[in-house]
Structures are given as structure tokens and as C-alpha cells.
């Protein structure tokens, strides 16, 4: 076989595929080449730490093993068989330790530190260094989330390589030369980027540490729970570190097909919302003076009373962040028990996407990626952004079609753009059709939950090509699982629920949704299932406490259509949803197990073809593609498709709201994350700004229909004309057309 090369490492013959790195080759032969800076996910090796020194026959000097690839007939001696390599390695470690402070008992990395481990295995027993070590100020806050200890840094450049080569935010740099070289942010600005937390995990010593985890626990006092992040539809695999019943940190758990071992800061740092002050810890009933805490028995009595009193005129507002099991449990109680089949979900979902599904990692290998939609990919499913960057680095062409796209399109014009692509005369469409490695991504609202995307992919013939895939980025983490579970709970058709007797609001996203609030105005009673007081006050007759995804046992379906398993990292302060749902279901004569695993078994038979929990495992696989079926509109959605702009008044701009990555009820409750939230600013196109004499940084006033908002302007050269783009949380009550004037 020409694809294999044969070489000898430490007198052991090993055969590997051509192009394999020497470190992996040695590992395949059962030999360790110790490394600090080597990390294949960061791109080509740099050989900065010199820990991997090996002797290669025919080469006069010791070589950095990590920079070599396996060659046919190569003879390599690692430190275990070559005295020269061993001496070189020992010397390297001695040099690394010359200025390393050895404050391991204080250091957060102590106990899980590669430098500790490798010094123990390969290093000298004592030091010859008698001079004072180099000292720096410490700890330096690189950002409110990351502390930098320059004394401990061994200058492996993993963090700066991540910053420049993976996340491409170019913020961490190495300043100065030689022994005084140090890691810093550019201009000492805070490291503000959506993926900054990954450098903590990459650091092989305790130089970059999490401020949230600072001095919280040692490695031998913790339990790591493998689970899945529930904050965006990507469903990155995570490990929740718990100590004494509290989540202390969240780390990535490499699923090569989903996240490639990276994790965004939202997934990594928002866990403190679990212990937020305004968490609902007991059921609340509206009494004479607002919400009053009651016992669980009284709460269930009240719930039964409200459910019976509505006489079937019940509407359920689902969040799409529930686990599939909770949605199914709600469906069993409300649909089977009460015949209340009406439900709303913020967006539609589509199973037609399954015809062209593929792992997210397919993006990384693509040659042509077309992203349609008005939202930035990083705001919707951040990890997809890293895959796109990886594809671009590998030479792929990324075309974005949208309000800020490389191909400008009017707001809400994504569906039309897709239709144009699928048309026979489209140049880009033709290239998509011809390519074996083409990807379509929908990043924005509307589009029938991916239905338009699936139609386009079908028209472009993506189904037969495994390298071609489509990805729809929904706004809610488990929208599809929730919609399918609700649909599977009963067969009956939706009856007209007007006038609404009872509105059941499930989850925080639904509770914070203005359209659900509008629905509540029309309902005579409201049951809210929510985690936070502020979302419950003022409108609910009964508040039942909710749990967070880190506290849930169950499954969720991510945007690829992959069913992944969530595990309970910590016991919630309240009984979980299934516990009281099953109690309530009993009162209405329907059977529902309080155990997520049992519920999964039941619903799996209905929607996942009898998939077993055991089959999901630690790293869930992606089921095979399903034959294409023309999508039909899902009955659940109530959100309008992104409406096409009508003719607006001269001088007004169309408001383009977007939901930033760092927003939402969880992020709001984490003080350290506030610096990541978007500035109070509105983006204007160059033309619109010039016409109004507005420059970046000017204070402008946005007016519509009697309300106005003042913020800073930013001139965005990428933005299409006629649009004012700002974050949802700053838009307040502005209407679709706004007048922009300099304040």
C-alpha cells in the first residue's frame, strides 16, 4: 500500500498512514512523546516548547518530534532509548522550570497540570537554580473571566495560536522577546471574544485560569459529569465539574463531529445562573398581595383546579429549550389528559432537513459554503462559526447572503435568495450543484424552520452527495425535539382554543417572549413554569419552578438532527418537571413516568424508531439520512415568517433586530459575562450614515411611533442600505420602521 509508511520508533516497527505526525505515530506504537505546545487542533505544529525532542538517525541534532511527520524507513529514538534525547528533554524541562514559580499548592492547575505530570516523569528531582526567579505582577485579569499569571507561563503559544488561528480574533499576543516575552492582549484591552474561554483549557500550566473556578476546587475533590450544553442548538458536548453539589465550571468534551473540542463562552461561563438570587425555589400562587409561596401539595391542587377550570380551552407556549422528555410529558398531561392540543413554539421546525443531514464537521472539509439569512452565525450557533473559519482556512469559499453578507440581500430576503440559488440560471447555484463538498447554512429567522433550505438542497441535488449538507440554525436549543415530542404525545387534531381559558407557559424563553405575553393578555389564567422570579411576576396565577439544562436528565436534538443525552450534573433545588408532571398526570388518569429514561423509551418508540439510551453513549452518533419528503408547514409555529419589507416612508430605515450571543435570561444573571454583551449601538450602512451626516461614535436617536431610543452609531460598511441593525435588548418598543437622526 502506497498510503502507508513503515518506520521504527524505539526499535519497534510501526506502520501508519502517510502524513501522520510523529507524536501520533509513536502513540500508535504505544510510545509516549511528551508535549506541551503540540495540539493538532491548533493547526501546524510550531515546536515551541522543545519537550518532544527525539533523536532521528541521519539527522545530526535532536529534532522536535511534534514537527515531524512519519517517513518511510525513518528510525527514531525517544528519550527512553536514546541518552542524548533524554538529556535534551531533561535540559528542556530544567530550562522551563528555571522561572516557573512552583506554587503548585496555590495554583488551580495543580493536580491536572501537564507540567507537573511531565516533570514528575521526565524531569530532574531537584533544581540547580539558586538565583531569584523572574517575577511579574499577578494575577492579571485578561478579562473578567480569565486571569493571567505570567510567572507560570512557559510560552508554548497555545493560547495565541488559538486566538489567531482558530477563533481568529487576534487578541492574545506575545509581547517582547526572550526571557521577558509575555502573553498579553493587544493594548491590554480585555479579551472580549465569543470563544475566549478555550484558552483556559488549552493552557498546559496554570498561567491562564478561570476567574469563576479560581480556588474553588482541586481535581481530587470534583466529579465531572458528561452532558450536553443546552444554550444553543449546536449541542456542544460538555463536562460539568461539580463539587459539593454545585457546578464549579464547564469544560468542553471533544465530540469531533459536533464541536471539535471547542466551546463558546456562553456555554462555558453561564452556569452561575443556577444559583441566581431570584431563582424560583418553591411554587408560587397569586394571592392578595402578589405571588405567595405555597406547598407543593397546594400548588398541585391549584394546578389541577386551573387545568379543570379551563375546560379544554388551553394553549401551551413551549420554549424549545425543554428536554424532549419534558415536552413529551407536557404533551401527555395536556393532550392525552385534557384534550388540550393547542401549542405555540417560537419557530417552526422541519424534518425534511434529515434528507441532507451530516455532521457539523462536514463544514470544515467543504470547498463552498453559502450562508443565507440576516443573523450572524456566531449569534445563533457559535460553534458553527468556528467550523466556517476552519473551512475558510482550508481554502473554502464562504459566501454570505443577507443584510450583512458578502452578497447583499434585503432584510428577510433569505428565502428568495435560496429560490434564486436553486434556479437553473444561477451561477452560484450551478457551482453548488457541481460541487461534492458544498454546504448551505440558514442563519436567521423564518424559512419554515429549515423547510425552504431543505427544498433548495433537494433542488440542488445534495441528497446523494455525502459531502454536501444543509444546516438550519434555530433560535432555541431543542426546538425540533420539543416539537416532535409534543406532536407524538397524542394523535388528535387541534381544536379552536378561543377564548383561551388557560395559558401554560413552559420555560424561560417562552416566558420572556413578547408574543407569549400578548397571548397571556387574552387568556383568563396563566400557569408559568419558570426558573426566575422576574419572569413570573405580574402575569402568572401559578408559578411552578423550572430546572436548568445542567440539572436535567433527558435527551435533546441538536441542529444536525442528532439525539444527545443530557445528564444531571447537580440536583436542582426543586423537584424536576417530570416529577410533578407525573403527579399531575395521575390526577387526570394518564400514565407518565417520573423518570426521564422511561419516558425516553416510550417516546423513542414513537419518534426515534426505538432508539435506546445506551445507543446514544457519551458521543452520540448521527443517524443516517432519510429520504426526502416535501416539507409541510408545522402547525406549532406562531411566529410570522420574516416579513418582506413593504414600501416605507422616505427617510425611515428598516429596523433589523438581532439576538446577540451574549443575551438571554441565563447570561443576564452572570455578572462576569456582562462585559461580553453588545454595546448600546446601532449599525448603519455607509450610505445611510453619510446621508444623515452620522459618523461612528455619534449619539443618534431612533424614533418610531412615538417611542425613541438613543444610542451610539456605528458605520458598518458591510450592511445593506436602508437598514438600522441593533440588538434586541436595545430595541425596546421600536417598530419596524425607524427614523434615525443625530441627537
Amino acid at each position: 500500500m502506497s498510503d502507508l509508511v513503515k518506520l521504527t520508533i524505539d526499535d519497534r516497527e510501526v506502520e501508519v498512514a502517510k502524513g501522520t505526525g510523529l507524536v501520533e505515530t509513536a502513540a500508535a506504537a504505544g510510545i509516549e512523546i511528551p508535549v506541551f505546545c503540540y495540539e493538532p487542533r491548533l493547526g501546524p505544529a510550531v515546536g515551541a516548547c522543545r519537550m518532544c525532542l527525539v533523536e532521528v538517525e541521519g539527522m545530526p541534532k535532536l529534532q522536535a518530534g511534534c514537527t515531524l511527520t512519519a517517513q518511510d524507513g525513518m528510525v527514531v529514538h525517544t528519550a527512553s532509548t536514546s541518552a542524548r534525547a533524554a538529556e535534551g528533554q531533561k535540559g528542556t524541562l530544567e530550562f522551563i522550570l528555571v522561572n516557573h514559580p512552583l506554587d503548585c499548592p496555590v495554583c488551580d492547575k495543580g493536580g491536572e497540570c501537564p507540567l507537573q505530570d511531565l516533570t514528575f516523569r521526565y524531569g530532574p528531582g531537584s533544581t540547580r537554580m539558586t538565583f531569584p526567579k523572574l517575577t511579574f505582577d499577578k494575577p492579571i485579569p485578561v478579562s473578567p473571566l480569565i486571569a493571567l499569571d505570567r510567572e507560570r507561563c512557559i510560552l508554548c503559544y497555545r493560547c495565541t495560536r488559538f486566538s489567531s488561528d482558530v477563533a481568529e480574533d487576534e487578541q492574545l499576543i506575545a509581547r517582547n522577546r526572550g526571557a521577558y516575552s509575555m502573553i498579553a492582549t493587544f493594548g491590554d484591552e480585555p479579551y472580549r471574544a465569543p470563544f475566549s474561554g478555550n484558552v483556559i483549557e488549552l493552557c498546559p500550566v496554570g498561567a491562564l485560569t478561570s476567574t469563576q473556578y479560581r480556588f474553588e476546587a482541586r481535581p481530587w475533590e470534583i466529579q465531572d459529569v458528561p452532558t450536553v450544553c443546552g444554550l444553543c442548538p449546536a449541542g456542544c458536548n460538555i463536562r460539568a465539574t461539580t463539587r459539593e453539589g454545585l457546578v464549579k465550571r464547564v469544560q468542553s468534551r471533544n465530540h469531533p463531529e459536533v464541536d471539535g473540542g471547542w466551546l463558546c463562552d456562553k456555554g462555558r461561563f453561564t452556569f452561575p445562573h443556577l444559583r441566581s438570587d431570584d431563582r424560583v425555589r418553591e411554587p408560587l400562587v397569586r394571592g392578595t398581595v402578589g405571588l405567595e409561596p405555597v406547598s407543593w401539595d397546594a400548588a398541585l391542587d391549584r394546578a389541577e383546579e386551573l387545568l379543570r377550570g379551563a375546560q379544554g380551552k388551553i394553549v401551551t407556549a413551549l420554549s424549545g429549550s425543554e428536554t424532549t422528555e419534558i415536552a413529551y410529558g407536557l404533551g401527555v398531561l395536556l393532550r392525552r389528559g385534557l384534550g388540550a392540543h393547542s401549542a405555540v413554539l417560537d419557530e417552526s421546525t422541519s424534518a425534511a432537513l434529515d434528507a441532507c443531514r451530516a455532521p457539523l464537521s462536514t463544514i470544515g472539509a467543504a470547498e463552498l459554503v453559502v450562508v443565507v439569512g440576516d443573523d450572524e452565525v456566531v449569534d445563533r450557533a457559535p460553534i458553527v462559526d468556528l467550523w466556517l473559519r476552519k473551512a475558510r482556512r482550508a481554502g473554502a469559499e464562504i459566501v454570505t447572503i443577507g443584510a450583512r453578507g458578502s452578497v447583499p440581500a434585503p432584510v428577510g430576503g433569505a428565502a428568495e435568495a435560496l429560490r434564486d440559488l436553486a434556479a437553473a440560471d444561477s451561477e452560484l447555484g450551478g457551482r453548488l450543484r457541481a460541487s461534492d463538498r458544498a454546504i448551505l447554512v440558514w442563519s436567521g429567522s423564518g424559512g419554515g424552520g429549515g423547510a425552504r433550505l431543505a427544498e433548495a438542497a433537494h433542488a440542488l441535488g445534495f441528497e446523494g452527495k455525502p459531502g454536501c449538507a444543509v444546516f438550519h440554525l434555530p433560535a432555541r436549543a431543542n426546538a425540533r425535539g420539543v416539537a416532535e415530542a409534543w406532536a407524538a404525545a397524542a394523535d388528535a387534531d387541534e381544536a379552536d382554543p378561543e377564548p383561551i381559558g388557560l395559558l401554560v407557559v413552559s420555560g424561560d424563553e417562552a416566558a420572556g417572549d413578547p408574543s407569549v405575553r400578548a397571548l397571556a393578555e387574552r387568556a383568563s389564567t396563566v400557569i408559568a413554569i419558570t426558573m426566575f422570579h422576574s419572569l413570573a411576576v405580574g402575569w402568572a396565577d401559578l408559578v411552578l419552578p423550572a430546572t436548568a439544562s445542567l440539572e436535567r436528565e433527558g435527551t435533546a436534538m441538536n441542529l444536525e438532527g442528532r439525539v444527545q443525552r443530557l445528564r444531571r450534573a447537580v440536583t436542582p433545588p426543586v423537584p424536576d418537571e417530570l416529577a410533578w408532571l407525573s403527579k399531575l398526570a395521575e390526577r387526570f388518569g394518564v400514565a407518565l413516568s417520573p423518570h426521564a429514561a422511561v419516558v425516553f423509551e416510550e417516546l423513542s418508540g414513537r419518534i426515534y424508531g426505538g432508539l435506546l439510551l445506551e445507543q446514544l453513549g457519551e458521543h452520540a452518533g448521527l443517524p443516517a439520512r432519510r429520504p426526502y419528503e416535501a416539507p409541510e408547514p408545522t402547525p406549532l409555529a406562531h411566529s410570522p415568517e420574516a416579513n418582506v419589507p413593504e414600501d416605507h416612508f422616505v427617510g425611515t430605515l428598516r429596523l433589523l433586530r438581532y439576538t446577540p450571543l451574549f443575551s438571554g435570561h441565563q447570561v443576564e444573571r452572570v455578572p462576569e459575562l456582562q462585559f461580553q454583551r453588545p454595546e448600546r449601538e446601532v449599525a448603519l450602512s455607509t450610505v445611510d450614515a453619510d446621508r444623515r451626516g452620522i459618523a461612528t461614535g455619534d449619539l443618534v436617536s431612533l424614533r418610531s411611533n412615538g417611542t425613541s431610543v438613543e444610542l451610539r452609531a456605528r458605520v458598518d460598511a458591510r450592511l445593506v442600505e436602508g437598514v438600522a441593525r441593533l440588538a434586541d435588548e436595545h430595541a425596546a418598543h421600536l417598530h419596524a420602521d425607524v427614523e434615525v437622526v443625530k441627537a
Binding site: D103, P105, V106, F215, E216, R218
Partner: protein
């Protein structure tokens, strides 16, 4: 067998005229050896700062899992120990402790040492959980200790040479 009975009484009679070897605890307390491992103490530096930095190595070494350490960060206004970190909570559950002294061996700062006190009985198990304040304080009861010149071994070479 009358002879056997008499023999037994003979033994009793012999012991009546001997010195008793029973020690009248608690009126008389037999001195313990200097390196006897009794209840723990947490030590301070001469300037009053605590030696413990809350590294939890004692908890890791403890075979009976009776030590709980929760660390926190020193601030300029509230400095407890010499380094960046100190033990905010330090508890030893002495009802579980087997006095093996591994914690003392594991401690990189000689912050925890085992004292000589062994009179630790309480009426409630909860009272046997010693908090940081209790461990830092000098013990109220004192136990007589044998002459250390006679019984303690000299400082080992590995400790005195560096």
C-alpha cells in the same frame, strides 16, 4: 480439687503485696511520647498569618476522608495567609480520623501538625467536627509529654540539609 483452689488463692495473695500497675486515669495522666499523634493543630507564621494556603493536599492524602477544605482568595484588606489563597473553611471530622498523620506528611507548608492531645470525647458527634478556629487555637486540655531529648528522634537528614 481443694489443692487447685488453694493455688488460685495463692496467686491472689501474692498480688496483694505487689505494686499495682493500673494507672488512675484521669487523676494520673501517663505522659505520651513526643511524637504521639493526637488531635491536629493548624499553625501560624511568626507574623500571625496562617501557614495553610488551602491546597487540599491533606484532604487528598487522608485515607478516611475526614478533611474538608474550601479555599478563597486573599485580598489586600483581608489577608489571612501568605500566598494568594487561604482556607476559608477547614474542617476535620475527628470521629472519622484515624490519626495516621498522612495529612501532616502531605502538607507542603507544615501548616497542619498532629499534637499530643487525645482526650477528645464529646457527647455529640457534631461536636467532633473541628473547625478552623478550633484547630488554630491552643488546646485547653494539656497532656503531659515525655522528655523529648530522651524519646524523640533527631531531625532526619533530608529535613536539615536543605
Amino acid at each position: 480439687m481443694p489443692f487447685g483452689t488453694l493455688k488460685g488463692f495463692g496467686v491472689t495473695l501474692k498480688h496483694i503485696f505487689r505494686q499495682p500497675i493500673t494507672q488512675q486515669y484521669p487523676e494520673y495522666k501517663r505522659p505520651v511520647y513526643p511524637r504521639f499523634r493526637g488531635r491536629h493543630r493548624l499553625n501560624r507564621h511568626e507574623n500571625g498569618l496562617e501557614k495553610c494556603v488551602g491546597c487540599s493536599l491533606c484532604a487528598a492524602a487522608c485515607p478516611s476522608d475526614c478533611i474538608r477544605v474550601v479555599a478563597a482568595e486573599n485580598t489586600a484588606e483581608h489577608r489571612v495567609s501568605a500566598g494568594e489563597r487561604y482556607a476559608r473553611i477547614y474542617e476535620i471530622n475527628l470521629s472519622r480520623c484515624i490519626f495516621c498523620g498522612y495529612c501532616e506528611l502531605a502538607c507542603p507548608f507544615d501548616a497542619i501538625t498532629l499534637g499530643n492531645e487525645f482526650e477528645l470525647s464529646e457527647y455529640s458527634r457534631d461536636d467532633l467536627i473541628y473547625t478552623k478556629d478550633m484547630l488554630l487555637a491552643e488546646p485547653i486540655k494539656r497532656v503531659p509529654v515525655q522528655d523529648s531529648d530522651l524519646y524523640d528522634t533527631p531531625i532526619p537528614a533530608y529535613k536539615s540539609s536543605s
